[in-house]
């Protein structure tokens, strides 16, 4: 049997690895996505005081520490039976909106966007942020850098540190904001709204006006009819910080709508011997293997999933874009994986609008940003929408608040099975009768990955979407026949045939 291995730069990187096996006819027999690392937070947090968790679990991922910090803090509210004052919740959501806008910007401009702006068949050397800058103008680089710099500056100002904030407590946050800080947050938030509008316009001009791209997005290679998960507020609108978790089926019908605390009735995780990362699936549907459809418990939890699982966006400009999105793509749900990039920009706009809303809320500078818990800690669950999927922290403690059980279902992990499906489908489309579409395979598989913005920082430690790939084509005896490599931003031709 012939095998094709797709490794990050090499198999020694510790990020992720794909093995594609071909059958005797040269068609794809099976595909395995392996995650080669484990750190064991669920075990070593046992015995620690629960209040350590926002800081301990931030170290799961240095790309999205705010998400873990926030989910942990919310789990502590639940654990200590304390309801934070309104200003505390608003401050948390404000910091979280700033984080979202910053993170989604990084993904679109540095990682996912270049495929579209430059075109999926553009030379590798141009398919990067520098290529984007050249094509659409130098001004854009400055705007992207400013957006990132502003975000990090404000997160540090509010949360103490730009990477790994030290801020969340059961019942609130450690410090609120002053009026002068509020003014700065508002000013930069208004810049962020303009930046998000500009980004959507760019997407419309460059991608949506090009029929080839639209064909690619809506084509068959990147479609999976899976369930979709996301958090919604009381009005059914997308919310990143709080709400109920809603799951809709492949045709858009509601499968479940539940409070975070009930998550274990709805989600289960499968263990496979060939990867360290588990595969979550919908418990009431069951695990049927790596297949999509209404009978398979495989689900997606991505920007696209959140839009599918909701009834709309809570802010006016994002809502208008939401309607435009479904109008253009033929109604809900949209199951085209590549539309995730568009959905991410709509979320960017929502995050920026929400940032301004909260920064101009009269209560945001209130001194009432913390209450002390008075009850004995027992058990708590905290959920937020991490940029890469619904994030769940679940703690059980003894009466002193020392942890006895910790369960974590992290953003990208939700999509572990769906990413495997996407890769398999791309491989099946591109490898037929032993014919490997070399350049196409690399970029199409990488695009299948990148749409999910996979942050195996949560499982391993690759930056979101930056999947340096190497494809090794071996014959049945394991001898290397061909070797191809590609890296976003690389200067080589993407070809290295020994």
């Amino acid at each position: 049997m012939k095998r094709i291995s797709i490794d990050p730069v090499t198999r020694l990187e510790g990020h992720g690895k794909i093995d594609i096996f071909l059958n005797d006819e040269g068609d794809v027999a099976n595909v395995y996505l392996q995650i080669p690392e484990l750190r064991g937070f669920e075990r070593f947090c046992i015995g620690r005081p629960a209040e350590e968790m926002p800081n301990l679990t931030a170290r799961i991922c240095g790309v999205c520490p705010e998400a873990h910090h926030m989910a942990a803090t919310k789990a502590l509210d639940d654990l200590f039976h304390v309801d934070p004052p309104p200003a505390a919740k608003k401050l948390r959501e404000l910091l979280y909106s700033i984080f979202y806008a910053t993170d989604h910007t990084t993904h679109f401009y540095a990682l996912g966007g270049p495929d579209f702006v430059m075109g999926p068949t553009a030379p590798v050397a141009e398919r990067n942020i520098l290529g984007v800058v050249q094509k659409v103008g130098m001004d854009i680089a400055g705007r992207v850098l400013k957006m990132r710099r502003d975000g990090h500056h404000l997160i540090k100002m509010m949360g103490g540190r730009a990477v790994h904030p030290n801020w969340g407590l059961p019942g609130g946050v450690s410090r609120g904001i002053q009026e002068d800080q509020r003014q700065e947050i508002e000013r930069l938030g208004r810049d962020a709204v303009e930046f998000a509008k500009f980004s959507l316009q760019l997407f419309a001009d460059v991608v949506l006006k090009n029929s080839d791209y639209v064909k690619l997005i809506t084509g068959d290679i990147y479609v999976h009819r899976t369930y979709n998960m996301g958090t919604v507020d009381a009005n059914g609108h997308v919310n990143f910080y709080d709400g109920q978790i809603r799951v809709v089926g492949p045709e858009g019908q509601e499968h479940a709508r539940y409070a975070a605390r009930d998550y274990q009735h709805y989600v289960a995780e499968r263990v496979e011997p060939w990867t360290y990362l588990k595969f979550p699936y919908l418990k009431k549907i069951g695990w049927q293997g790596f297949v999509d459809g209404v009978d398979s418990g495989v689900y997606k939890a991505t920007p696209l999933s959140r839009l599918n699982a909701a009834e709309g966006m809570a802010t006016p400009l994002a809502q208008a874009e939401y309607l435009k999105f479904y109008d253009a793509l033929g109604g809900k749900p949209v199951q085209h994986t590549l539309a995730t990039h568009w959905a991410r920009l709509i979320e960017l706009l929502y995050a920026a609008e929400r940032w301004v809303e909260l920064a101009t809320d009269p209560e945001i500078t209130s001194k009432e940003y913390r209450v002390l818990p008075t009850q004995t800690p027992t058990e708590g669950v905290g959920c937020v929408e991490a940029p890469r999927g619904t994030l769940t922290h679940h703690y059980v403690t003894d009466e002193r608040g020392l942890l006895t059980q910790v369960n974590l279902i992290v953003g990208t992990t939700n999509n572990n099975a769906a990413i495997s499906l996407s890769v398999k489908k791309a491989a099946q489309q591109l490898i037929r009768k032993g014919q490997v579409v070399t350049e196409g395979l690399l970029n199409m598989v990488e695009m299948a990955f990148r749409a999910y913005d996979p942050c195996f920082g949560c499982a391993t430690h690759s930056l979101p979407g930056q999947m340096p790939l190497e494809v090794v084509v071996r014959d049945a005896c394991g001898v290397v026949q061909q070797r191809l490599s590609q890296f976003l931003g690389s200067g080589d031709e993407g070809r290295d045939v020994p």
Binding site: E37, R59, I60, P280, F487
Partner: protein
């Protein structure tokens, strides 16, 4: 600097969260100055260079390697050895590589316990057959391999000799830039040094100290401290007193105690022991039983609180195995 004089720089990550990479990127446009001074020969997050290219290099061909992350798997161990061999100067970059960081707390458990918790005991894990990840798995189509997950997380210098240490979780961008500048200008301290400040976080902290003693330690959720006076003197376990300066006392400025991410201050061999001594010095009691009561009440997890970032690199290093040695034996 002329092209010919350019040095070779490598950056690598092992068992880490990616925060060190974000911190490097946070030096923003100065990254171009780094690129002007060095040929970056390996940096998985940002450039297209491959491990096999490094393998082909002569030993010592790389001038400086900044290595972040701890060593938990066979893959990471191989990379540490490779980068050591190929680099003239190997820098343990950030808390994980220097002293184990938060993932080092895993040394309070053994591999078997980690596996049983993650793959068997958790409420959402559906695994009646007790499947566990294997080094080699035979699937219908062939064999699949995973790196070996070791019993103990090691720091970089427990794996290979290290020349310098850059503390912080992650290091602040300004400190990274200072270290890079020292490398470029050849003003590095003697080998074996920590590149950083010699004082403690207290020296950078704007809060007022009154040399006040305390009768009780509070957990962070038990009091709302005032924003002006020393957090330790208000009864919070603030690690600043035994933690190296360099961050600018960021956490105390948002009314949170220092958690010690910059590691022990200069000249201290065991940060946890130093912190314990420092905490003892503020307790307003002389009776050993009373002191014990104060500590037990307010610091219920001494190892996790005193060795939060430094366990793997400390004298304690890991918990002892009680029984069933074979099950947890390192491979």
């Amino acid at each position: 600097m002329s092209e010919a004089a350019k040095g070779k720089l490598a950056l690598y990550w092992a068992a880490s969260c990616g925060g060190c990479e974000i911190a490097v990127l946070a030096i923003n446009e100065k990254i171009l100055d780094v690129a002007a001074a060095f040929d970056i020969v390996l940096w998985p997050v940002a450039i297209d260079a491959k491990v096999r290219d490094v393998e082909r290099m002569a030993d010592g061909e790389i001038d400086v390697c900044l290595f972040n992350g701890g060593i938990r798997t066979s893959e990471q161990e191989y990379m540490a050895q490779l980068m050591r061999r190929k680099s003239k100067v190997l820098v343990a970059f950030g808390s994980c590589a220097s002293e184990g960081c938060i993932p080092g707390l895993a040394n309070l458990s053994h591999r078997r316990q980690v596996f049983e918790t993650v793959y068997r005991d958790l409420p959402t894990t559906d695994n009646a057959e007790h499947v566990e990840p294997q080094h080699v798995t035979h699937v219908p189509e062939g064999e699949l391999h995973l790196p070996v997950f070791y019993d103990t997380l090691r720091t970089l210098n427990q794996t290979v000799p290290v020349d310098y240490y850059l503390p912080g979780c992650p290091p602040e961008a300004e400190r990274i830039w200072e270290a890079v500048t020292a490398i470029v200008q050849g003003t590095l301290p003697p080998p074996g040094s920590v590149i950083g400040a010699e004082t403690t976080v207290c020296h950078e902290c704007p809060r007022t100290r009154n040399e006040k003693k305390i009768k009780k330690f509070y957990r962070t959720w038990q009091i709302i401290p005032d924003e002006e006076t020393c957090l330790l003197e208000q009864g919070l376990v603030c690690c600043g007193i035994a933690t190296r300066a360099g961050c600018g006392a960021l956490c105390p400025q948002v009314n949170s105690p220092c958690i010690g991410c910059y590691g022990a201050n200069e000249g201290v061999h065991d940060g946890g022991a130093r912190l314990m001594t420092a905490l003892a010095s503020v307790i307003d009691a002389t009776d050993p039983e009373e002191i014990q009561g104060i500590v037990r009440e307010g610091i219920p997890d001494p190892v996790g609180s005193l060795y939060r970032f430094g366990l793997a690199g400390s004298e304690l290093r890991r918990s002892r195995r009680k029984t069933n040695g074979a099950a947890a034996k390192a491979v």
